[in-house]
Assembly symmetry: C2
């Protein structure tokens, strides 16, 4: 087939970069000094053997982080970051991930390396057989596996651009076989640029097998390879499958999955299915951990691999395919064992290939990072810029162990810095980020259906749940949320069920409202737009009001909405009850933005101090908001006889806002355990009367007056993060409650 012609076909071009990706990345858990962890896999991570994101590899302390399959590299790296965040913060504060492919110092005795404590007997047996054949030390090597699939539309377009092969699946398999053979032949280029295992730590080799410093121990013959007798042909899928099965039959491999080729052909659960299904994607396994990247591989590396595979499709291959592959192995071993600062023996060839790739990218109109080729050329000219070169040079300043430990610590800090965030998805709503964190931890597959819209698909085995904005779910019925959306309807229904709500009337015109002045004038009352929005248009009259002020308030409210409410004003303190499935899961007191005097600092300084709390930020992307000193705050200070440069007395509390919204700098205080059960029962019963399952209901409780309460509002998409990261008091992990409510089988399986 004329690949060159096919690739430049106009019907093929639009789809050239269409692909699907996946990454598996192994890392060892170490303590904060860089010693192998002695602990079990973290309990907070669901222990299922087939956890979709976080598994154990050979050893109990070897974490394998697995991204889902994605359609873009951006998404791929978002998930990789997120899964790292979950892994880090699930391990707890005494552990971190080792950033190198080569393990840190190993125990002297092989058997002191603890095998993964998996549930499935077969998985345990398999690890035992590996231990017997290769020893446990070799199993401690870590790396990145890069799963790659050409887009369906691309293969379809290529198929249509030729006429030699009539059968689509056959064609597809041929595409992957060509790319694979060329990859095996030319993989020394990857080893040159991205090899990153120049030397071993103590006890990795039983004897001093390798004393030189190299580019990549892991990719060399000293890495994790099968015995020399294991030979598998890539000339056709039939040969590949039959060779593999004969290796197993002859006992050279304990199972097909023991075949450690740098490229694995994938098409089903078992290799035998490849013959029926054809190749669906390939797994590149020869990638060392990139120690300079928090997540072990850079975006640019992935982009390179993608482009490299297209280039390898385009590039001619040798006629004898088995020989072609075999030569590749030799070349790679040469490059892998070169000194990291040495120019490679294949420099000229490499330069030619990079030029060809660049040319190809131009003629095919491929959109790739501007800097990719700049960096590749730099690395080619200057070996100290390759990963192995950099790692070697920096290790020389101290030791590889020290370097790795300090890199690990930086990654560790980064993950703990803002523990409420989920790396990769920090543009999303905070509650959704926390929910995704918990879902990943629990082994629930998280798919983002609409990122701007915070729309998730959660999947646990065959059980699917959709969630929007963190807690809009299938558990609530539709009309019940519509009830809560309408204050008048909510009040009517609560009242019909015997709950205390502020008495009041709805008005559609100013005239109507004015005519009812007599009904409200003499008691405390509040005037507000039917749809409120951060307190705009609200007037409170705690002692009743004269006609003029009433009129002004009415006009003000009508500026915000076409309907307004005039209501009895209830005295007391307002609490937010978070009710889930007929239980109060959290109660929060929200206090208006304030500072506490120390007799020394000005109000402005106290605000600055308070704002330094890492929980405070902007735009609902942190659990608390920065306290402002704007017009409203200055007015409020003035009313109390203060200015921004006044110095409040020791322990004096200065309020900067009338309203207690967290969004305007208010403090959130968890009071769940302080609230009497009577009120919790009222909250639960009131929510039930609205037919709601997930609800934030606001009660005014009159201090000291038992059973004097009023229900102000019921919210169908209540904020969760303010309960999870309160300013004061214990956390209430509401996102986890939501997950357990949606997937009760999780609790069930845990109690088994």
């Amino acid at each position: 087939m004329d690949y060159k012609k096919m690739l430049v076909n106009d019907h093929v071009k639009p789809y050239l970069l269409k692909a699907r990706y996946g990454i598996e990345k192994e890392s060892k858990r170490v303590d904060l000094s860089g010693n192998l962890a002695k602990t079990d896999h973290p309990k907070s991570i669901s222990q299922q053997d087939d956890h979709p994101y976080i598994q154990r590899d050979f050893s109990e302390l070897q974490m394998e982080l697995i991204t889902p399959v994605t359609d873009t590299l951006n998404e791929l790296f978002d998930y990789l970051a997120a899964i790292h965040d979950v892994a880090y913060r699930s391990m707890g504060e005494n552990e971190m991930l080792w950033p190198l492919s080569m393990p840190p110092q190993l125990p002297e005795k092989d058997e002191d390396i603890v095998m993964a404590k998996l549930k499935s007997a077969e998985n345990v047996r398999y690890r035992q057989s590996l231990s017997n054949s290769y020893g446990r030390r070799k199993q401690m090597l870590c790396g990145v596996h890069f799963n790659f699939e050409f887009g369906d539309e691309l293969i379809q377009a290529l198929f249509n651009a030729q006429s030699e092969i009539k059968e689509y699946q056959h064609f597809k398999t041929e595409i992957y076989l060509k790319a694979t053979r060329n990859y095996l032949h030319y993989r020394w280029l990857v080893t040159y640029f991205y090899g990153a295992s120049p030397r071993s730590e103590k006890n990795f080799f039983e004897e001093n097998l390798l004393n030189e410093v190299v580019r990549s121990i892991r990719s060399s013959k000293y890495g994790y390879t099968n015995s020399k007798d294991v030979q598998v042909s890539y000339s056709s899928i039939q040969n590949y499958v039959s060779d593999l099965s004969s290796m197993v039959k002859r006992g050279l491999l304990s199972a097909e999955r023991e075949f450690y080729s740098p490229v694995r052909l994938r098409g089903g659960h078992h290799v035998s299915e490849l013959e029926d299904n054809g190749i669906r994607y390939i797994e590149l396994r020869n990638i060392d951990l990139n120690p300079f990247e928090t997540y072990g591989i850079s975006y640019e590396q992935a982009e390179f691999l993608h482009l490299f595979l297209i280039y390898l499709l385009w590039k001619d291959e040798g006629e004898n395919s088995d020989e072609w592959v075999k030569i590749g192995e030799c070349y790679n071993d040469i490059v892998a064992l070169e000194h990291p600062l040495e120019h490679t023996q294949f420099e000229k060839e490499a330069k030619k290939m990079i030029d060809e790739m660049k040319h190809l990218a131009t003629i095919l109109n491929l959109t790739i990072s501007d800097t990719l080729f700049v960096h590749l050329k730099e690395m080619l000219m200057d070996p100290s810029k390759t990963l192995a070169g950099r790692l070697f040079e920096e290790s020389e300043k101290c030791s590889q162990r020290q370097l790795a430990t300090s890199i690990a610590k930086e990654n560790y800090k980064k993950s703990w810095d803002k523990p409420y965030q989920l790396a990769g998805f920090t543009d999303m709503e905070l509650s959704t980020q926390i929910l995704m964190f918990d879902a990943i931890q629990q082994g629930i597959q998280v798919e983002i259906l609409d990122r701007q819209d915070q729309f998730l698909k959660l999947k646990l085995k065959e059980h699917v749940e959709y969630v929007k904005n963190g807690n809009m779910t299938s558990k609530d019925n539709y009309v019940s949320t519509l009830i809560m959306e309408n204050k008048t309807v909510t009040k009517k229904i609560l009242q019909q069920h015997g709950f205390r709500v502020p008495k009041g009337k709805e008005f559609q015109t100013i005239e109507q409202a004015l005519r009812s002045y007599d009904l409200f004038s003499s008691k405390p009352f509040v005037v507000k737009p039917k749809t409120t929005n951060y307190g705009l248009g609200i007037s409170i009259f705690k002692e009743g009001s004269n006609y003029e002020d009433y009129q002004k308030a009415i006009i003000l409210a009508f500026k915000e909405d076409s309907s307004i409410l005039v209501e009895e004003f209830l005295k007391g303190t307002e609490y937010r009850f978070f009710v889930l499935d007929d239980r109060v899961k959290a109660v929060l007191l929200r206090v208006p933005a304030n500072v506490k005097g120390d007799g020394k600092h000005t109000i402005e300084e106290l605000v600055m101090q308070k704002n330094r709390n890492p929980l405070r930020g902007r735009d609902h992307r942190t659990p608390l908001e920065i306290i402002q000193l704007g017009e409203l705050e200055n007015l409020m200070l003035k009313a109390q006889g203060y200015q921004v440069n006044s110095i409040p007395k020791m322990d004096e509390i200065i309020f900067l806002r009338e309203n207690s919204n967290i969004s305007t700098g208010g403090d959130s205080i968890n009071v769940t355990d302080l609230i009497p059960d009577d009120y919790k029962k009222i909250a639960v019963d009131a929510v039930a009367s609205l037919g709601a399952k997930i609800c934030g209901i606001d009660l005014i409780i009159e201090n000291g007056n038992k059973n004097a309460y009023g229900i102000i509002e019921a919210n169908f998409n209540p904020s969760m993060y303010m309960h999870i990261y309160p300013y004061k008091g214990e956390t209430r992990r509401l996102t986890m409650h939501i997950i357990h409510y949606l997937f009760p089988e999780l609790l069930h399986s845990q109690s088994n």
Copy 2:
């Protein structure tokens, strides 16, 4: 107690007009010639004995229409109108309601008057005993019962404005007793103004008992009264209760409910409960049907009664209360038996009372219709303007029977004129009106929680369901509606479940969209804003497109929304499938606005003709919309080589619009039975995959190509009226399906 002082108290005044109302109105069913109907109570009306709105009175052909209790007179009359509409259209097209209190010609034999065929044995027994005591003819009198309750806040304020009575319930009872005694004394005034039974038709009296024409047979001693021996004191609640129970014990009444006082005291199911509960409201029973009002009583009459009761509270009463009441009976009998055109004997007294009422209304700041006192004075000066006077004078021109028949026919026509509307609630959404109609018919209590918001509470016995916009209910789960609200998410989920949806991409920027030109250019595709709005910003390219036109379309779409979709364009015809609870209940074809030529008329004339269809109107208050001849229609005509004054050939169809929305004059065609089951299964399965229970799903079906379909959209609040009143084809009563879905017990009880 000094009622005068209490009423002018400033704390009382704001609440003076607060009250609750209810109306019961009896009417006989007649055929279109004005003869008593021979049919049973309509089958379409739920047959329960305790139907909340439509019951049978003594006879099977006597309908009793009952409003719910309301807080305003406006609401009261809205319900009265609505219940009439349901009664009319449930009886079918061969019957109507007799507008007079006096029955039309009765059968010669008493036993030919058919008693109500009720389920409860006790109800049947009671009617048999009435038949025995009074004869069946007397039972055929009809009237209005006006239930009246002073507002709670009013009674509370009055209670606080005095100190004589310490106990609230006792005070409340005294209030009602005073009003009742004065009403019984002065009720002749009501008889003068609103009496409306001047003469009887054949066979009402067994002998020619009364030959004169009078003001009100029904309110006179010839009406429906107990025997003279039945005497009950209103001096205190204790006396009232003990007198009544002694009448029953002595056999003068078969039951307490046989006591036919013009005012009944109400406080519980049984009279005996009055002593414990006190009086809760009173029932005025001496109101003749007003033949000149479609619903038997006018708003002004109700206003008069309300004001009259306040006036009677204010007005002094006689010292001996039993005598005071007894004198009232004599006065009333005198006025009732005066000739309708004769000035009343009590004219002077009446004039004084009306002046007092007017004065009272002024000093108490009561807001009432400007015309009330004008009309009262007119009637006082000119007896021919009273109801009895008018009825007598108009009957003289033909006969009372003819007059009543023609009035009945007008009412009948009015109800059938726009059968899709529900009188009283025509400001509401059409689907909600139809749903309310069906609910009332089925005996479900309908409460409007928010009229602007189309928010209903439906109640059947203890079962409550809330409904917004006709079909937003508790049956759908929240996230499923959120899925449907988001086109991208809907498509993803449908696709993941294996359904065919147009392939496409979402873009947030023009640049992104332009970069993907190659993906779409060569095939049919459509560019549209993510949130569509009556077709704005949509461009269709049936043959693919060049780059310039693609760019224009992208820019156009971004003018309507911040996200746009570019999608494969599917060829075929679009159908709307209405799916309810996993079944297709209706399939509709929507055809763009069009006219059919007759070879004679111009397009403009044909449009006018087509618009005469009473189904066509404006603003979604009719099942179809008026076809416009605006800019878009003219452009469309021009493109086809026509103008508005062109004359299309016989049977030529001229389309006036590209889009098929009913809202722009499109035709709705029911095709439910024509669509193959395969497609119905696809619709049902697709809706199920979204987790939806009530959904309007749009399928494009390629004509003649089996299984070639695509799903365009899923709507969570699909319009119903267009299926119920289609332009062509059978009706599909979706509102009734919704009601049976919400209240399955209705089907259950029907099958029993």
